[in-house]
Structures are given as C-alpha cells and as structure tokens.
Amino acid sequence: MTRAVDPVLQGLRETLLRMGSRAEAILDKAVQAVIDRDAELARQVERDDLEIDRLDVQIDEAVLLALALQAPVAADLRKVVAVKMIATDLERVGDLARNIAKSALRLSLHPEVPVPLVLVRLARSAQRMLHGALDAYSGDDPEAARAVLAQDDEVDRQQDEVVRSGLQEITGRPEVASQGVDIIFVAKHLERVADHATNIAEGVILVTEARNVKHASKLGA
C-alpha cells in the first residue's frame, strides 16, 4: 500500500539530492578556479550559487507543507527534519564555494604564487567527504556516514598545515601577503565544507539509527 506520505518523502529526497549535486559541482568549480587562477570560472560560481539558494527556499516550503499536511512520525519525521538540516548545510557549502571563488578571483589578479600541495590535498579531502556524505544519504548508509566522520581529523590537520606555512610565507615575503591571506582563507573555507559534510553524515545516522551523534566527542556520547 502506498502511503500518502511516501511521494512527499520521495519528492523531498530528490530535491535534496539535486541540491547536493549542485553543491558538489559549485565547490569543484571554485577549487579549480583557485588551482588554475581562472577568473571566469570564479565568476560562474556566484551565478551557480543562486540555484542552490532557490532549492533551499523550495525545500523550506516543502518541509513546512510535509509537516503540516502529513504529520509524519517516527522514521518519516526524522527523514523530513533531516532534509531541512542537510539543506541548510548544503546552502552553507554553496556560500563557502562562493567565498573560495572570491579568493580565486583575487589570486588571479595578483602575481602568481604556487598553490601549496597540501591545500590541493585539503580540497580533495573536503570534496571526498561531501561526496561521501551525500552518497551515505542516498544509500541510507550509516556505515558510510561514519566513514565520513572519521576523515574530519585529517582535514583539520591539513588546514593547520596550510595556515602554518601560509603565515611563514607572509612573514618571509611580505610582497605576497595578499596571496598568502587568500590561501589561508581558502583553507579555512574548505575546512568548514568538511564540517558541513560531517553534519550531513550525522543527519544520515539520525535518520537510519535514530541516534543524535552531534558533538559526540565533546558530549561524551
């Protein structure tokens, strides 16, 4: 028997996955704009982010209607709530990609400095985590979600390394201070992307296992 709530849940899921695809694409574009010093690619990111914002508003409205008209309970309720939680994280990823693109634009307008290899590794780590979290959501896979959570420490370490070497560069070569600052900004934005990926993974665990593992290390859960 098809329940009245099933097509509603399916619609929410599809819209969220569409938003996830856009977020991954926009992040990839922003990272590539940094690596390639591509100003045009950087400008495209700002336009692309509008679509993510539109999907965010669409999901807001759809979640409200789902709660009001279907009064979901149990797993259905967790699924609806998780969609809103994850959409918020994806919207932030879009904003972070836009910020990365702004740094890419500035870098392209200044004399070139080599993009640190660790920054590229950090970018790929953050992208892998985001992709892994969305795969975990798509597959209702808590193990895959936990695998994403396990990658966060490495991202933090990579960010620290970029910041450390960036500060050294700025101190030793003040003429490239602007570029150094932007490299540090990009690293911090990528670390935030990874944080949002962990939030998404935590949302998957909430839906599939009815467990809230947010702040687990601090709360001793």
Binding site: M1, T2, A4, V8, Q58, E61, L69
Partner: protein
C-alpha cells in the same frame, strides 16, 4: 512542491473571514450560496457559501455541533427526512438548483452519493449490496451487465481481490473497514458525480482508515468529494480544500495547504492548533 500562492478568492470579510457571495468557482460540481439550516427554531447553519469542485476533496472541519454534517446532508437533501428541518438558500448541482425545482430526490441521491460514519451494508449478499442501486435505478437489467458493474465498483473500492471468491456471502460478514469499502463500492455503483462522506473513518482502526484514505485519493480524479471529519490530520492528508466551521458559520475556506500552514483567521488558527474544539 512550492508554497501555495494565495488563492484569488472573493473578497474576505475580515471580521468573520467569510466570503462575499459570488459565482461558483470554475470547476465547481456543486455550489451552495446563502445556505441556512434550522431545526425548529435552532439555527444550525448560517448563510454558508461553499463549492465542491470536481477532481478535488473538500474537507469540512470544525468542533462538534458546528453544523458541518448538517450542511453536508443538504447536498443530497438527506435533511428532508428530518422533521422540523428547514433549508434556505440555494444549492446547485452543475447549474441546476436541487431545492424547490421539482427535482427527483431519488435520482439526486444517485448522482450525489453518501457514505456514513457507521458502515451500513444491507442485510444482503456482497453482490446484491453493490447491485441493488443499479437494479433499482434501471442502470442494468441483464446479469452480465450487473456482473460488470459489481466487479468494476468493487475494484474501484479496492475490495475486489479480497471478496471476489465469496460474493454470495453476506455483506455483514466483512470486517468494519471492508464494510466501509463495500459501502463506497455501493455508492459508486450507480455512477454518481459527487460523493459525500460523513466521518467515514471514525469507526475504523488505523489500518482500515489508511486503506479508505488511499481509496479516497484514488477516487478523487473521477468525482467531486466532500468529507466531514473531526480528524484534522486526516483533513490535511486527504483534501485539497478545507472549510472550517464554528457555531454554524463558515469561518474560513481555502486550499488545505494554506489553511494548515498559514490560516487567515484567528479562530481557524486556534482550532487547528488545538486551543479549543
């Protein structure tokens, strides 16, 4: 799914949230204008304007005694059978008034079917329960045609697979939920245009309720359906339009999505959020 835009409804009276009298909405299968109902000297329904649209389910909600069932019974003139009950105003089926026009009430009740709160199968076989209406309305005289109507109606009511091998068993032998679906099959066997449901699930368990709601969803495309329910979640799940009644008055009428996410009238908001009722 996007938030519904505000319906371009007729002008609202802010103090009551009611509607200015207007022409029936496009797609209205039945329309009530200025309908009032009194029982002897008691005014039960006051000056109601309401449309029942083809292809949609319209839910009538409100606290006990608000007049929603009284109004529902006006649409197929069931109130005619209540001593001391007087109906004023106008109700049309398509463009034809159903009161005071010499209309055949029996024919009206074939076109405007009704399902009641308590399942009421006839003390006949399953087959004869469904075949009774087509027989007396002359829709079929040959056995083959009756068989076809009975099967089609039971299929549409989602009951065929469960009863096809025991059509000669009494209708009363079914479970409560099955009996209600049998009553729905009986109603649709005479090919109605409108189906009125007066709290059709209040006597059923949650699984039976879900099956009837699924059935309503499946029937919606072919009929104009009006359902009285005291279960607001049910109204939210099954209907596209909702009419909120209080003390005999239509307080607010609009798309179900609007009513349940952002009602315009405070009384509506108070009722659906459980502040009274």
């Amino acid at each position: 799914m996007t938030m519904p835009a505000r319906s371009p409804e007729p002008v609202e009276r802010p103090e009551r949230g009611g509607l200015e009298r207007s022409a029936p909405a496009p797609g209205a299968k039945m329309s009530a204008r200025g309908v009032s109902v009194t029982y002897d000297t008691t005014l039960a329904v006051r000056e109601v304007d309401l449309d029942i649209l083809l292809g949609e389910v319209t839910a009538l909600i409100g606290p006990s005694g608000c007049g929603k069932s009284t109004l529902l019974r006006c649409f197929n003139r069931m109130n005619d059978d209540i001593p001391g009950c007087r109906v004023t105003g106008e109700i049309r089926l398509d463009s034809d008034p159903i009161y005071g026009s010499g209309l055949d009430v029996v024919q009206l009740r074939a076109r405007v079917g009704m399902v009641f709160q308590k399942p009421n199968p006839f003390p006949k076989s399953l087959y004869d329960n469904v075949a009774y209406g087509p027989r007396i309305h002359g829709l079929a005289t040959r056995r083959a045609k009756l068989d076809e109507i009975v099967e089609r109606s039971l299929v549409r009511a989602g009951l065929w697979e469960e009863v096809k091998d025991r059509l000669q068993e009494p209708g009363t032998a079914l479970s409560g939920g099955q009996q209600q679906r049998l009553c729905i099959a009986r109603a649709i066997a005479v090919d109605p245009e409108v189906i009125l449901m007066d709290e059709p699930c209040s006597a059923l368990d949650p699984i039976a309720t879900a099956k009837v709601e699924e059935l309503i969803h499946g029937l919606r495309g072919s009929y104009a359906i009006a359902i009285v329910t005291h279960n607001m979640q049910q109204a939210a799940r099954v209907s596209q339009r909702t009419a909120f009644f209080h003390l005999g008055e239509l307080v607010e009428y609009g798309s179900t999505a609007e009513i349940f996410t952002n009602p315009r009238v405070q009384r509506t908001s108070d009722y659906i959020t459980g502040r009274y009722g």
